[in-house]
Every structure is written in structure tokens, then in C-alpha cells.
């Protein structure tokens, strides 16, 4: 998927919508393209739509008080939303007091939920978080900026509210130059705040998404490696077996080894691709050498380790039950052959990748 594109690009009439927006609102100066990007708009609309449904769901749950007398004994979606709302209210009440916190809860809570689910959207492969676009973050910051000052004027009156921009009351012989200076400083501070906050959230999400993309590209098979660790005993229900524990021992071993070798090949090709895209021949050669070395080095290490473990497990089984040696031999041979073939394939990949 090209940079800046997501699954939303495959929506019907997406191109027509983007063309219409560009013709209506003009070209994008911020994105340095002839077309105005609409990915963040669609993503934001999806998040808002999702939160509307969440609102209906939570509202319906709250209307039946018999279900909400006792807290739920497990983590549920309702409990999760309740935790976010409680945390938002608690933080707001600590900062501004209970009354304004209750007044502002719909706004602050909505912002918190929108930002949370927008950021979380970036964790789904193929989706871009709407908050990695300055247009989104700046629009949200402007809403807060305007609301803050409107509420301030409404609560304290125009003169009293803006008089606090001049700073604290000081003797007249200091005030004549301090107060105008403080006014300018406060004014700049208030104007700059939404801009800096918008840039901060956008930069955080852009960097986060970029780093996540690089790591996913490098360790695309990491999920398979996690299979290795899914063998923990179910302590609550010892009779129930989870994950790989259901499988026979040698099948489990083969799965683990495949899971070990898959990331190696993917990592090597990822490095090779990075190297091919890199500017300059020296960087490309260094990248390819690194990819080749990493592929064969880690594959040989993992293969040797796997074979050692296979032999160890076989010997352990035979020591416990010598009559089972006939049954152990075949899976052992299969396991060893599969491990070795994976290592040799890693060698071939390393050979292809090397400069």
C-alpha cells in the first residue's frame, strides 16, 4: 500500500469524492500535493460514527440500573468506557473543580475518546490514524481554544477575564511596564498553545506510525514467534489445555521452528529491500551484507538450537518410557529434516541477498 494511503482508498467513489473536495476547497498547501487529502476526514468520520454507536450502547446500559449496581467481575467494553470517562472526570475535577469539570465533561470526554480511538486506529494494519494529520488536530485544538475563552468571558465577564492577561496586581511604578509586557506574553501564549498542541499530537502520531511501520516490516513474522510462548499452563483450569499444548509434542516443535525461521527470511528480505531503496551504492552493499549475515547467522543458530532441543526432548521421552523409542524415531526424523531444510533455505536466501 503506498505511503499515505489506507483501506479507505478502496472505498467506492473515493476518487470522485477526493476530486470533488479538491475542486470545491482548492489544492492543499499543507500537504504539498495538487489534491486535498481526505483520508483523515473519512477516518475521523468512522471514529465519530463508532463513538455514536458506543454512546447509544452505553446509554442503553445505563437505563437499566439493575445491571449496574455491582461492578462487573471481568473486563468488558462497557467497563472500559466507564474507566475512561471516570479518569477524564477525575483529572478535570482535580484541575478545575467538580462543577466546571461536570460542565466540561461532554467536551473533554468526547475529545479523550476521539483521540484514543483515532490513535488506536493506527494500530490496525492498513489504517492511518486521523490524528496524524495537522488538519484534524488543529481543528480539535481550535474548538477547545474558542470554547475556553467563550466560557471564560461568560463566567467572569469580558473586562475581568481579559484583565487577568495583564498579570498580577503590582505597585504602579512597576505596573506601567510589566503589565503591557505580560499582556503581550499572555496573548502570544494563548495563540500559540493550540498550534503547538496540534503539532505535538500530529508529530507524535506520525512518528509513532512510522516507527510501527518499520518494526512491522522488519519483524512481520513476530506474531508467529509468539506461538512459542503460548504454552503457559492454565492454572485456573489445569485440565484445560491451551494453544500448542493441545498438539502432539513433535508437531508443536515443528510449529515452533517454522515460527522461528519465518521471521528470519522476512527480516532478510526486508533488509534487502531497504538496501535496494537506499541511496548510494555503499549503503546498499552494507545493507545487503547485513541482511545476508543476519539471515544465515540467526538461521544457523536457531536451527542448531532447535535440533538440540529436539534431540534432548527425544532422549528425555525415551529415558522415561524406553518402549516408546519406535514412536519417537519418526517424528524426530521429520522434525530434524524440516529444521534443516529451513536453515538451508535461509542459506539460499542469504546467498541471493549478498552483495
Amino acid at each position: 500500500m503506498p505511503h499515505g494511503e489506507s483501506w479507505f482508498s478502496f472505498l467506492p467513489y473515493y476518487e470522485a469524492f477526493q476530486r470533488w473536495i479538491s475542486q470545491t476547497l482548492g489544492t492543499s498547501y499543507m500537504e504539498h500535493t495538487s489534491r486535498l487529502g481526505v483520508q483523515h476526514v473519512i477516518a475521523y468520520a468512522v471514529v465519530v460514527l463508532f463513538l455514536v454507536f458506543v454512546g447509544f450502547y452505553v446509554n442503553r446500559r445505563l437505563k437499566s440500573p439493575e445491571d449496574n449496581i455491582l461492578p462487573e467481575g471481568k473486563v468488558t467494553f462497557f467497563g472500559f468506557i466507564e474507566t475512561i470517562v471516570r479518569a477524564t472526570y477525575g483529572m478535570s475535577a482535580d484541575l478545575m473543580g467538580p462543577k466546571p469539570a461536570k460542565y466540561f465533561l461532554p467536551l473533554i470526554g468526547a475529545c479523550a475518546l476521539v483521540i484514543f480511538f483515532s490513535n488506536a486506529m493506527g494500530l490496525i494494519p492498513g489504517f492511518l490514524p486521523p490524528t496524524d494529520n495537522l488538519n484534524t488536530t488543529f481543528a480539535m485544538a481550535m474548538v477547545i481554544f474558542v470554547t475556553t475563552h467563550v466560557y471564560g468571558v461568560k463566567e467572569h465577564g469580558f473586562v475581568k477575564y481579559f484583565s487577568h492577561f495583564f498579570g498580577p496586581k503590582v505597585p504602579w511604578w512597576i505596573a506601567w511596564f510589566i503589565n503591557p509586557l505580560m499582556f503581550v506574553i499572555e496573548l502570544i501564549s494563548h495563540i500559540v498553545r493550540p498550534i503547538t498542541l496540534a503539532i505535538r499530537l500530529m508529530a507524535n502520531m506520525t512518528a509513532d506510525h512510522l516507527v510501527l511501520g518499520i518494526f512491522v516490516g522488519l519483524f512481520a513474522g513476530l506474531g508467529l514467534v509468539l506461538v512459542r510462548f503460548n504454552t503457559k499452563k492454565n492454572t485456573r483450569f489445569p485440565s484445560r489445555k491451551r494453544g500448542l499444548r493441545r498438539l502432539p509434542k513433535m508437531k508443536k516443535l515443528a510449529l515452533r521452528l517454522v515460527s522461528f525461521a519465518a521471521p528470519l527470511a522476512l527480516t532478510a528480505t526486508a533488509f534487502a529491500q531497504e538496501a535496494a531503496d537506499a541511496e548510494g551504492q555503499a549503503t546498499a552493499i552494507a545493507g545487503r551484507a547485513l541482511a545476508a549475515g543476519l539471515a544465515i547467522g540467526v538461521a544457523a543458530f536457531g536451527g542448531a538450537l532447535g535440533q538440540g532441543r529436539a534431540a534432548s526432548a527425544a532422549l528425555e521421552g525415551i529415558a522415561r518410557n524406553p518402549n516408546a523409542s519406535g514412536n519417537i524415531l519418526v517424528p524426530l526424523i521429520l522434525g530434524l529434516a524440516l529444521i534443516e531444510s529451513l536453515v538451508i533455505y535461509a542459506l539460499v536466501i542469504a546467498f541471493q541477498v549478498q552483495p
Binding site: A304, S325, I328, I333, A337, L338, I344
Partner: protein
């Protein structure tokens, strides 16, 4: 098991080599044949070593078994590297031929499992 494994791997190697000759030409075909030979030799070595480990389980130390396997792996990697880097074996054809190890082993394992199931059923039927 040893005969069955070697037979399966050899047949798979022959088939893949023929496939290499037909689809990739002489260069790929020869490389596939070389890969097939390596696969058959590797299958033989693995079977031999696994039998030694299992039969000599009482006397053979675990660490020593691991060292034996590790040494075999190192030798195999060196041979493969020499074939690819020094003797100009085509990597693609070699990979195709080497696939005989996986295919042959899996076929032999499946065949054995089917035979064992049949034997168990017959034994149960005889008892019944």
C-alpha cells in the same frame, strides 16, 4: 523407516529435477538435481543420526547428541555454500531440488501414519 524415507525423498528429488529441466532449462534442471542429491544425502544422514540417538539413548549424552547434530548442520551448510558460491549451482534450482527433503519426509511420515492406523484397526477388528 529408513528405506521408506530414502525412497520417498529420492522419488521427490527425481520428480523435482525433472520439473526443473522441463520448466527452467538445463541450468535450473542440473541445479535441481544437485539439490535433490543433497536432499537425499541429508535425509540419509538425518535418519542414521536419529537412529543412533534413539537406540543409544541410554549411553548417548544429550549434549553430545546436540553437538553431533550441530556438526552435521555446519558441514551441510558448508557444502551448500560451496555448491552455490564456488561451483556455480543456480540458487533457484537448488532450492527446488532441496524441496525433495521436505516433500519426501512429509510423504514418508504420512504414509507411515496411514499404515500404522490400518494396522491398529486390523488389530482391533481381530480382537473384536
Amino acid at each position: 523407516m529408513k528405506t521408506r524415507t530414502l525412497r520417498s525423498v529420492s522419488v521427490a528429488a527425481l520428480m523435482l529435477s525433472a520439473l526443473g529441466f522441463v520448466l527452467g532449462g538445463v541450468s535450473i534442471g542440473v541445479s535441481a538435481a544437485v539439490g535433490g542429491i543433497v536432499a537425499v544425502l541429508d535425509a540419509w544422514a538425518i535418519t542414521w543420526l536419529a537412529k543412533r540417538i534413539v537406540r543409544g539413548a541410554g549411553a548417548l549424552d544429550r549434549g553430545f547428541a546436540a553437538v553431533l547434530l550441530g556438526a552435521k548442520l555446519a558441514i551441510l551448510l558448508s557444502v551448500c555454500w560451496a555448491l552455490l558460491a564456488r561451483w556455480g549451482v543456480d540458487p533457484l534450482g537448488f532450492s527446488v531440488g532441496l524441496g525433495a527433503l521436505v516433500l519426501g519426509m512429509l510423504y514418508a511420515g504420512t504414509e507411515l501414519a496411514v499404515l500404522q492406523t490400518h494396522a491398529q484397526r486390523e488389530a482391533q477388528t481381530g480382537e473384536g
